[in-house]
Assembly symmetry: C2
Homo-oligomer: 429 residues x 2
């Protein structure tokens, strides 16, 4: 029986909105937003979209008018009552009232600020300028919109059964990964794939497939809307934007050297337990850890997000041992460029030596490589804080391919943070 | 939006019926039924289900009560007005009024006769006794019910996503065949997979995939219901049951030797053009053709349904040449144990020498091999006329593995039809 009402209702939509909720975003964005709201609510920050895969000419694939419609739709969104209730009433990481009444009141009244969109050289220049807690919330929906519009553009001229078979193949591929992973004792994996997803519905499918296939080894999703809808744990802690903006705001080299620790000192005041996870690579993991204050060694874990992941984990283990901590009590979260094989390798190598956990992104929610020729191959799109109070931000990371910022500032940061030669690793996702 | 009415309606079904229409059957069954109705309407015939793959113990997989419910449901079916209109009004093989008003009136009043069901040695003994035109219509629905109940039994303990991935894999596999086949100039393929289908919905999916993927190279389906619903050509001519019953009714060896030609003489009176297709293998192709009357060489084509298909086609070509016919005007329909590779091989070998056409069965509509371990591997289930007026029927075919009937009768038929040594070919589907 065709549901006529649904069909007629669907006729009324001017667009098929990609992002339909302000909590269709990563959980760590909201945690960081609350922290920023508390500590830097009036700081002016600029976020910008950066397509690291220049060969994919997004402005030729995606119609500007349609992109504006999607972005305008996001600006029309506000927190629904149910979403607000979930954020206020849910237990996150074992804690009630993770979000303060003051933050929630602000969030309930938030609309996303204006965006600035231009075409240049086959790419979109999409920037967001304004108060940090507001513009930072553009990152994930902006990425999700661009990613899904690219998918739609590629799928646009495929037939009905061709499409069904495309998804059949992608489902088969995802399920084969689930089958390869499941049954490995002690494995713990969360979905971190919102920003690079093929589409919202596809991410939602992948999450459900992980849930059925992996059982308790699937620990949750970074996506708040999917966590809410599917009654899952929302997963995430903090990201590079905090040290990047803190660093940009530093007036002196000495203040710059202290900035990454200031971030974690603020975080230390706000969070405990499994939320105390260090992201050490913004300006080089080695230097960050060797200069870190002792209280940081008491934190629960470290997230490895660039460079060779095994090297990063070995560095962390050595550091904990030097500071008199037992690594077996510590958590290592791998979250960079994972796929099933790499997950199994890293788990085999570190399981038992530390508590291992994985945040699986692009290759969970967007592995369509080869399924429509090369047209759906993964690519590397990010949306980053590029300036704070008019000063450029810098990221070095443990992979020079991921470095960003003006060359003179990169040189200064390398000097201040004592970053020596680094191994370049190609960035594909 | 959930369609509540649909959901509540679905609650009301006591069973999920597998066969829901009397025209969910092969088109040739209806053509033969009309012929039988005209020439032998009072002949008593027994049809019986035969599982040639003894290792699949159907009576242990399928609940007897549920099987009876499905068979009882089929007995409750009658031709709907729309189905009757389609049969009366449609053009089949370019001919209007393929079915006479007298036959249609009989068919509109038909309910399928009783069945007899017993369990023996892990198998079901399912037989149908009665007037030939009535019991013959049990063949396809009985097979479809057993096939789909076996599928359901295997799928019963699979999870929701496991199921979705199973179908994703099957869709991918089917589509890969479509992709391998399409683009081959002059290819003509029809769906002959009703009797061995995984399920009705799956056959319907495969037909639609062929339609989208192959375009005009997909010539239609043997399934009348799907042909009607999808506005396709209904495809089919005649089958072994005609010579088998005619032969069983023969009183003398001389009459027996003539029986297969009598079948085609009756058919000659009723049909012309592309419906004049010889099925020569019932009692050995070589002998059948060498003793055939000259008027038969004027027929349009030959269907190759057992033995080595290339040998069968070469035999047919030689025979046409001996009788002064140009094989390039003739049609060869391959319909035995086909899959994509075999189709391409045969097409490459015979295209241009004759008009080639394919009736693709089991491996189109039921290729789940290896998708649920071995549990869904194809198997060889048939439903055959085993007796007429109390006398056993015999089939020899061009493959001794497909022979059936009492040994003494097989020996007699071999003598009468001059069948020498035959090559055995394993029967898997």
């Amino acid at each position: 029986m065709v549901d006529i009402a649904t069909r007629v209702w669907n006729h009324k939509w001017k667009i098929d909105p990609i992002v339909r909720s302000l909590i269709d975003t990563d959980f760590y964005k909201l945690l960081m937003c609350q922290s920023v709201f508390r500590n830097h609510r009036d700081t002016n920050v600029t976020f910008s979209l950066i397509n690291r895969t220049r060969s994919i000419r997004l402005a030729e694939l995606i119609d500007e008018g349609e992109l504006r419609e999607q972005l305008d739709h996001i600006r029309s969104l506000s927190l629904s009552r149910g979403e607000s209730t979930w954020l206020r009433g849910n237990t996150f990481y074992g804690k009630r009232q993770m979000f303060t009444p003051e933050f929630m009141e602000w969030f309930e009244n938030l609309r996303l600020p204006p965006y600035h969109l231009e075409k240049r050289d086959g790419q979109y220049e999409l920037t967001f300028e304004g108060k940090w807690p507001e513009v930072m919330l553009w990152e994930i929906p902006a990425l999700a919109v661009l990613m899904e519009m690219r998918s739609r553009a590629v799928l646009d001229d495929m037939g009905r059964f061709e499409l069904q078979v495309l998804y059949a193949r992608a489902m088969t591929r995802t399920w084969e990964k689930v089958e390869r992973l499941r049954g490995t004792p002690g494995l713990r994996i969360a979905d971190f794939g919102t920003r690079r997803r093929h589409s919202f519905l596809w991410q939602d499918w992948c999450v459900q497939a992980m849930l059925e296939g992996m059982g308790p080894a699937f620990t949750g999703t970074s996506n708040c809307l999917i966590a809410k809808n599917r009654d899952l744990e929302a997963i995430g802690t903090n990201a590079h934007e905090l040290p990047m903006v803190y660093a940009a705001l530093a007036e002196t080299d000495a203040a710059l050297a202290e900035a990454p620790y200031k971030v974690l000192a603020d975080w230390h005041d706000e969070h405990e337990g499994n939320l105390r996870v260090i992201l050490p690579d913004t300006y080089g993991t080695e230097g960050f850890l060797s200069r870190a204050p002792d209280w940081l060694a008491g934190w629960t874990g470290i997230r490895i997000d660039s460079g060779d992941p095994a090297t990063g984990a070995e560095t962390a283990i050595r550091w904990w041992q030097e500071r008199g901590e037992d690594p077996r009590d510590k958590l290592v979260i791998f979250s960079d460029g994972l796929d099933a094989d790499k997950i199994l390798d890293l788990h085999a190598r570190f399981s038992g030596r530390v508590r291992v956990s994985f945040g699986w992104g692009t290759m969970l929610t967007n592995d369509f490589k080869g399924l429509a020729g090369d047209a759906l191959a993964p690519f590397s799109l990010v949306c980053k804080a590029i300036a704070a109070e008019g000063r450029p931000t810098v990221k070095l990371s443990d992979n020079p391919e991921k470095a960003m910022g003006p060359p003179s500032e990169i040189a200064r940061y390398k000097r201040v943070f004592g970053v020596g030669p680094q191994d370049a690793i190609p960035v594909t996702v």
